[in-house]
Symmetry: D2
């Protein structure tokens, strides 16, 4: 598990570029954080829908890939329920079903006050390929 987390931390460049960090990760569960910066803002001065989505997507991907085989997102929906302006957002993903080829996840995204900012529901397609972690280096 540590190896998979290290792999994701090292290789997910888009998450790194946007200040998103993976905090916890276990099979079917993951937590990610994003401390809001000016570059996360949309034209209205709030956290951009794409930034919030990306935070949640990283948590979802970590929860899904924590099983050790590659899982790719095929369908994700997001409900935005509260605007976020400052502070740190936390995304918690948990698995709601796990099949041989498909698995589903719910992601809750909360702000510093514990209020829900957005809720995501995602489905991944599970490949047979093992994650290319730990090649003896």
């Amino acid at each position: 598990m540590d190896e998979i987390a290290a792999f994701l931390r090292q290789h997910d460049r888009f998450a790194a570029h946007n200040g998103i960090t993976l905090v916890e990760m276990s099979a079917g569960r993951a937590v990610a954080r994003m401390a809001l910066q000016p570059y996360h803002q949309n034209g209205a001065g709030m956290a951009h829908g794409g930034a919030i989505f990306t935070l949640g997507d990283l948590a979802l991907a970590a929860a899904a890939n924590a099983h050790g085989t590659i899982a790719v997102g095929i369908n994700v929906s997001i409900q935005y329920v509260k605007a976020a302006h400052t502070g740190t957002l936390t995304a918690t993903a948990r698995e709601t079903s796990l099949g041989p080829r498909l698995a589903t996840y719910t992601v809750d995204i909360t702000d510093g006050e514990g209020d829900t900012v957005a809720i995501m529901q995602g489905m991944v397609y599970r490949k047979r390929d093992v994650l290319p972690v730990n090649n003896g280096q």
Copy 2:
């Protein structure tokens, strides 16, 4: 319209931070582009789901805000249909319904070969507030 486009170009910091540019914009329709860079990659070396979503979200927001009043995304779903590795992605948003409070959009995201990479369906809540664009400064 030019003022609204200029406003979005200037103020959407998250889009700028991620190399996304607004190409076209008119009431209910917008086109945005993103030339894939190494920082757009996820752990598997493909364009990150969050990057693709953010590109589509900018086009959706532009199409919705082009009416001149503030529209905020409340619900968006995305289907990922083809992985993208290099080249430029284009998102084209078009309005599928426009009501006094709610409006809906479909966004097609294609790669350099014209193949569909992802399809989004979004709904916005239309506020009464006029966009704070530059009126005569």
Copy 3:
């Protein structure tokens, strides 16, 4: 609350036509049931996606309308995770956010063995109109 439940039971003809019953209802929460009959089947002999959706939609509507004002569904997504053939399906809806105009719900649909059959995520628009329930007749 009893009046609202009675109103929904009496007036939701589509639910009645399809053998769906409202079991529990309180502000932001509701449970509905559907005992599978041959007429619920699709062409492949499983419970039809539309039947499962309708069951969940009734629970969602009851949870949303239990606040006493009319709430109409504007966006719902469903993930199908296990096929259902026989027995009774149960849908449990719970509110995940409640705003003045918008509210969101998650609905879990399980079969007789307690396995998840489908998961729904819905958003409603809350009107100012009070439900036309029986006031003292």
Copy 4:
């Protein structure tokens, strides 16, 4: 194609129970209709969200199964944009992507005046099994 359409018409009991008819069907495209009856109403006297969804779902299933192998819906989202009270609703499904295992569809549902009532976006998982049509009986 005629055999597949005949199979769906004969075996989709839930569609038949709810007055839904398959009008057209070809690989990746299908049209279904539903003449609104009192039993389609929800508690507010409008066409039930579940009835509208079921109409669209039949069109989607027909478009997906028209390829001759079994396709099962795994994820569907619906946006409701106009209430429907009377008349006939028409659902038109078209394929937006077709892969070996996954395919996606958009369904437009319109009323008698040609106005959009709802828009659906769905994804199916394509099994290797051939539809059990026409076994020489």
